[in-house]
């Protein structure tokens, strides 16, 4: 059973404010509770299959120049860098 504290903790890690408790914590709780149905699927011994793409099928790892100057499309572009907020309060 998931607790509200766990949901609030993950929200903080995902950088999402959950000021409206009913909209977020309660509904997320209901949704995750529904996923408990997976416990009855009996798939514990099942192997997870992952589609593999042979390296030969991948395009060459080469730099492909882009037509536009992409960095200039960023909002806080200054000269040759992007301005970000300071890391500590």
């Amino acid at each position: 059973m998931v607790t509200e504290e766990e949901i609030e903790h993950v929200s903080k890690l995902m950088k999402i404010d959950v000021d409206d408790h009913k909209e977020y914590v309660d509904k997320v709780h209901t949704m995750i509770d529904y996923f408990d149905i997976l416990d009855s699927a009996g798939v514990e011994s099942e192997e997870i299959t992952i589609p593999e793409i042979p390296i030969a099928n991948l395009r060459d790892d080469e730099y492909i120049p882009f037509d536009d100057k992409l960095i200039e499309k960023l909002n806080h572009y200054k000269g040759t860098y992007v301005r970000a907020p300071k890391m500590s309060s």
């Binding site: 998931v2 766990e6 949901i7 993950v10 929200s11 890690l13 995902m14 950088k15 999402i16 404010d17 959950v18 409206d20 909209e23 977020y24 509904k27 997320v28 209901t30 949704m31 995750i32 529904y34 996923f35 149905i37 997976l38 416990d39 009855s40 699927a41 798939v43 514990e44 099942e46 192997e47 997870i48 299959t49 793409i53 099928n57 991948l58 395009r59 882009f66 536009d68 992409l70 499309k73 960023l74 909002n75 806080h76 992007v82 301005r83 970000a84 907020p85 300071k86 890391m87 500590s88 309060s89």
Partner: protein, 481 residues
């Protein structure tokens, strides 16, 4: 001018000189202006569409080389990038985002002289199945404006069914093309995973989503597939379909084909009218020479939980890029600490996106991955084995596209689990990578019912042949607008 014609009829009419692309597109834009206030399919209308159609007409008249679309007006779901055009994902977060490149599907359609009449509505970042989660307001079902049109490609389905375009492109992560196609009485197609490039589709859940067409007829879908399918060096998950012609031999019929009826998709909770339509579809397929028999896919009952677990996990990762530094809402960085700045930027996501991102952080986290994410992947593997086994016995599988009729706007928005279950018949094709199509089949008290057919991977051509055969048996009422 008859705006109700199919894509193939439009092309023939322009080729024969009976209509001009410019007139047709101009009438289409007028149509959008007259009905879209009510329906809200469009987020943006291309003001240059008429001029672009005029250029196609000039090529037609001069006998120059004309692309196969001949100026056909197409709408595009607003999570597919068109260069120099706003691509919002129906989110405040991307309200002012202008795409700097064309998606591969857009490049291909431009080369074939398609005209993009506009970008159409969706649930924010394609997360939803009603369009009620669009930050710019819901689209309305043209069959009854009080009802949802389905989603997330609701704008696509509305624009095709209300004659605001001839065809549309949507994206299907768990039924997002087929569900609105069913609710609005259009054809909706989810191809084999990898058949259509996702380059330029704004990512939600990469491992299972696909771009797919919504059209008036199955033949139009086959035509659209001819235009946009194939291998793409910009999307390593694409597969080589050897330039398959999906339109040729579409009249082959289904005599001798074996069709499995998925037991778990016609069970509890199904609307009686939907069940009756499904049984009717099965009878019609039998009368066309197919044999139908029940088949059980045990994992279907866990498929929706597995689907939401996997998609939320991928969404949590994909949407991490919206930190307002690389993408996102615009406000200055001065005076903010890094984390609080990103949290403030993320307030611009709508409630459903936030909920799925929280789930996407939770279900794969240390301590919970074994119970949720890894188990979901195991269900996906087992479901794939079950459906592969089914395709050893059957050529095709049949289900209703959605087990219930379209419902009223607002009816289910506060009940996430009842919304989940609307997806029960569509997520299997996404989790297993199989192609699936929804065909308009019936109408109950003015509300459309769609039937879904599925085929094995890379059997898209067979699927379209069967869908075309079934479509020929159907006569539906005119849309009341």
């Amino acid at each position: 001018m008859n705006l109700k014609i199919s894509a193939l009829d439009f092309i023939q009419e322009v080729k024969n000189g009976n209509i001009s692309a410019e007139d047709f597109v101009a009438n289409t834009i007028e149509r959008i202006q007259s009905v879209d206030d009510k329906l809200h399919a469009f987020l943006y209308v291309n003001e240059k569409a008429i001029e672009q159609a005029h250029e196609v007409d000039k090529k037609v008249k001069s006998g120059g080389k004309v692309g196969s679309c001949f100026g056909m007006p197409i709408s595009i779901k607003d999570n597919i990038c068109i260069k120099d055009t706003k691509t919002t994902c129906a989110s405040k977060m991307l309200e002012d985002f202008v795409a700097s490149y064309d998606a591969t599907v857009i490049t291909k359609l431009k080369e074939q002289d398609a005209i993009f009449v506009g970008k159409v509505n969706l649930d924010e970042f394609a997360m939803g199945l009603t369009t009620e989660f669009s930050a710019f307001g819901p689209s309305k079902n043209p069959w009854n404006n009080e009802y949802v049109p389905g989603g997330s490609s609701g704008g696509s389905a509305v624009s095709v069914s209300a004659f605001e375009c001839v065809a549309s492109l949507g994206s299907d992560t768990g039924g997002s093309v087929r569900n609105p196609a069913s609710f609005c009485s259009t054809v909706g197609y989810k191809p084999t995973y990898g058949l259509i490039s996702r380059y330029g589709l704004i990512s939600y859940a990469n491992s299972i989503e696909q771009i797919g067409p919504l059209t008036r007829t199955v033949k139009d879908t086959a035509f659209m597939l001819n235009m946009i399918s194939g291998i793409d060096p910009n999307d390593n998950t694409t597969i080589d379909d050897k330039n398959e012609d999906y339109l040729s031999e579409i009249d082959s019929g289904i005599e001798g084909k074996k069709i499995g009826i998925i037991k778990e998709m016609i069970g509890g909770g199904i609307d009686p009218a939907v069940l009756s339509a499904t049984n009717n579809a099965i009878s019609k397929l039998e009368s066309l020479g197919a044999t139908c028999e029940e088949v059980s896919l045990d994992m279907v009952k866990y498929s929706v939980a597995a689907y939401y677990t996997i998609t939320a996990t991928e969404a949590g990762s994909n949407l991490a890029r919206y930190d307002n530094l690389r993408y996102g809402y615009d406000f200055p960085v001065e005076g903010y600490e890094f984390n609080s700045y990103i949290s403030k930027a993320r307030r611009n996501f709508g409630p459903e996106v936030k909920r799925r991102m929280i789930i996407g952080g939770f279900v794969p986290s240390a301590g919970h991955a074994g119970k949720y994410f890894l188990k979901a992947l195991k269900v996906k593997s087992k479901l794939t084995k079950e459906i592969n086994d089914a395709f050893k016995k059957f050529d095709l599988l049949i289900t209703p596209t959605v087990p219930i009729l379209p419902f009223k706007i607002g009816e289910k928005i506060d009940d996430p689990v009842s919304l989940f279950l609307v997806d029960i018949n569509t997520v299997t094709a996404n989790l297993t990578g199989k192609p699936a199509i929804s065909i308009p089949f019936d109408n109950s008290n003015g509300l459309p019912i769609g039937i879904q057919l599925m085929a094995n991977s890379m059997h898209d051509k067979l699927l379209l042949q069967a869908a075309h055969a079934l479509e020929q048996t159907v006569t539906l009422p005119e849309i009341p607008i």
